[in-house]
Amino acid sequence: MTAFSAARAPARALSWVSKGFVQIVLLGIAIFWLLPTLGLFVASLRSEADNTNTGWWTVFTKPAELTVSNYQKLLSGGGFTASFWNTIWITVPATLLVVLIASLAAYAFAWVDFPGRDWVFLVVVGLLVVPIQVALIPVARLYGLIGIFGSIPGVVLFHVAFGLPFAIFLLRNFFMGIPRELLEAARIDGCGDLTIFFRVVLPLGKPAIASLGIFQFMWVWNDLLVSLVFANTDSQPMTKALQAQMRQFGANIDVLAPGAFLSLIVPLVVFFAFQRHFVQGLLAGSVK
């Protein structure tokens, strides 16, 4: 027994060393991954002059440089606060509408029989990968005709339309998993499709709806291209407002760093709060 474990000792020591090595490598990678965001955060807490002259890492030797004045200036300006509210007014309706419209459609695709159902669904799946670039010019023209170009509803509708294929795909697959007996029992009790949808399918579909809602929220909150084309300066979200400052990156760092940090803090909080749903949504429906 002793001889046996003695023979294994070198191998164990080796595996212990390699384990320690893996730990160190992963620790290095984790720091490497955190550093850029930390840099942004620290830069947002330093005055413009400090940022122009030295790198953010100098705060570790001179903590006195830290100040919240950038944030105070940014939030008292009014323009940024307005764009923050625009982001909310775009993101919340776009998320709710996608969830509602997609779950209605997903229910029909999963549980209502109608001719050509599978073909229509395949077309929707096909639309998953359509790049939004292809719709920019035609929809800009369409919005011009009906007079919602540059408005928040225009931006919202665009986000809803391009969120639908993924949303329908995700929810339909989930709804298919609901036991048929549950739906039939409800039907025997005399419930119509609408009642079944609200009383049975929506409550049971909560996990998938949560994943979808978080995804859609993040996409819309983080979008730049759609608002770049369809929003004007009154309806622009934070991303577009900040993008306008990028031209003078060095000179505007006192606006860009705190602005970017404020714009990322909400999705980050959502991400940490609902991490499980986020990952589940990812697993359920990649390839978009």
Partner: protein, 420 residues
């Protein structure tokens, strides 16, 4: 009944997704004004116009480089995290950038890639490492005093214009250096003592008297020597001897063979300090942005692959281990083949995503470098909205982009069929 449930979705998809595809295809056959039919001209333009060719080339680089790097990195992370206790913390950290907008990531990486080593973190690290291993020059920006025996030579060096015979003393005045920048060891410059018959001596000093006064090309009081400058005695293009100046700027060669020499102050004395790498310049911009992309998407690949890894039956691995297979062998022969479907999904997702990459390039590439950094998705916007105002060409580019991603539709449909 079904129609009622489907109507809102189908109406929106029809008006804002399907109709635009049809309209773009139609619009792509007209010129910028939209009135003149030009047939396939806009499409041939994509392949001939310089800007859109750059965009195509960059998109190709992106597709070839980014998805495979991200997938491999995700695989490595997923496998390695199986061996640590804090795997979920690690995954959270690496996955976090996925929640951040491309705009914020762009701002983050503009800070990272900032060229000035005092501000950009990568260049700060690079210059620190560089200066640790090779000392940077002490006298960047020095110039020869006009009328002195020195003249600039290639590579920041200075040489004497006239030949010097052994037995002579030479004065080598330099200017253009801030007095505050001189090393602390520098002392009052003095003319070097006359050399022996087989030697050459001289003084290298800062020929500038603060507050005026002083005679040019003459060692005046209150002028300091330049210590630590390498001086070479060159004969027939070959350095035959070399020495270094002292605190008072003097140097001396001895035991030189007879002949005529020129003195050279090599460029190493005056080279500008190492400034790191110009990440945001035209040549490195695409790799730099791909770096930021990897930072964002590695977590996505890692999470998906880790889920696939968790689904691999443990007993298969255990059985192979019992048979004495090495870890590397297990990885190559069992883990990777069993992960193949997941790896394919990750890879295809990333290819589609890379084809559409817009924000990151738009934000990280400074305006002046955008023509070199542009990709198809960005070029489409630039041509039709960002100053180009040619919606015919823009539509053609959008349709072209659609065609590029369309194989993924069949991939999706096949996968969907299999799941049924």
């Amino acid at each position: 009944m079904a129609l009622g449930f489907l109507l809102p979705a189908l109406a929106l998809l029809g008006a804002l997704v399907v109709y635009p595809i049809v309209f773009s295809a139609y619009r792509s056959m007209f010129d910028a004004s939209g009135n003149t039919f030009v047939g396939a001209h806009n499409y041939t333009r994509i392949f001939t116009d310089a800007d859109s060719r750059t965009a195509m080339r960059n998109t190709l680089i992106w597709v070839v480089v980014a998805p495979s790097l991200v997938t491999v990195l995700g695989l490595i992370f997923a496998v390695l995290t199986e061996r640590i206790r804090w795997a979920s913390a690690f995954k959270m950290i690496v996955f976090m950038p996925m929640a951040v907008s491309f705009l914020a990531s762009g701002v983050i990486f503009r800070l990272v890639y900032e060229g000035d080593p005092h501000r950009g973190v990568i260049n700060a690290v690079l210059t620190t490492v560089h200066d640790t291993f090779s000392s940077s020059s002490v006298y960047p920006g020095a110039i020869a005093r006009p009328g002195s025996p020195l003249t600039p030579a290639p590579g920041n060096a200075f040489v004497t214009t006239t030949g010097i015979q052994p037995g002579h003393m030479v004065l080598l005045p330099l200017v253009g250096l801030p007095a505050a920048q001189l090393p602390k060891s520098a002392t009052q410059a003095v003319p070097a003592p006359a050399p022996p018959p087989d030697g050459i001596s001289g003084t290298v000093w800062l020929d500038f008297t603060r507050g005026g006064g002083g005679v040019q090309n003459h060692v005046d009081p209150a002028e300091k020597g330049l210590p630590g400058i390498r001086v070479q005695a060159v004969q027939a293009g070959k350095a035959v001897a070399s020495t270094t100046t002292g605190p008072d700027g003097t140097f001396a060669f001895t035991k030189l063979p007879a002949g005529t020499y020129t003195l050279k102050l090599p460029g190493g004395n005056f080279a500008a300090p190492y400034q790191g790498v110009t990440w945001l310049g035209p040549s490195l911009i695409t790799p730099a942005i791909i770096g930021a992309y990897i930072w964002i998407w590695a977590g996505f690949a890692m999470v998906l692959i880790a889920a696939g890894l968790a689904a691999i039956p443990r007993d298969v691995l255990e059985a192979a281990r019992m048979d004495g297979a090495s870890e590397w062998h297990l990885f190559r022969r069992i883990t990777v083949p069993l992960l193949a479907p997941v790896l394919t999904v990750v890879f295809v997702t990333l290819v589609i995503n890379v084809l559409k990459v817009f924000d990151l390039v738009f934000i990280i590439a400074p305006g002046s470098v955008q023509p070199q950094a542009t990709v198809l998705a960005l070029e489409m916007w630039r041509v039709s909205f960002g100053g180009g105002a040619d919606q015919g060409a823009g539509s053609a580019m959008a349709i072209f982009l659609c065609l590029l991603v369309s194989p993924a539709i069949f991939f999706n449909l096949r996968r969907f069929r299999q799941e049924q």
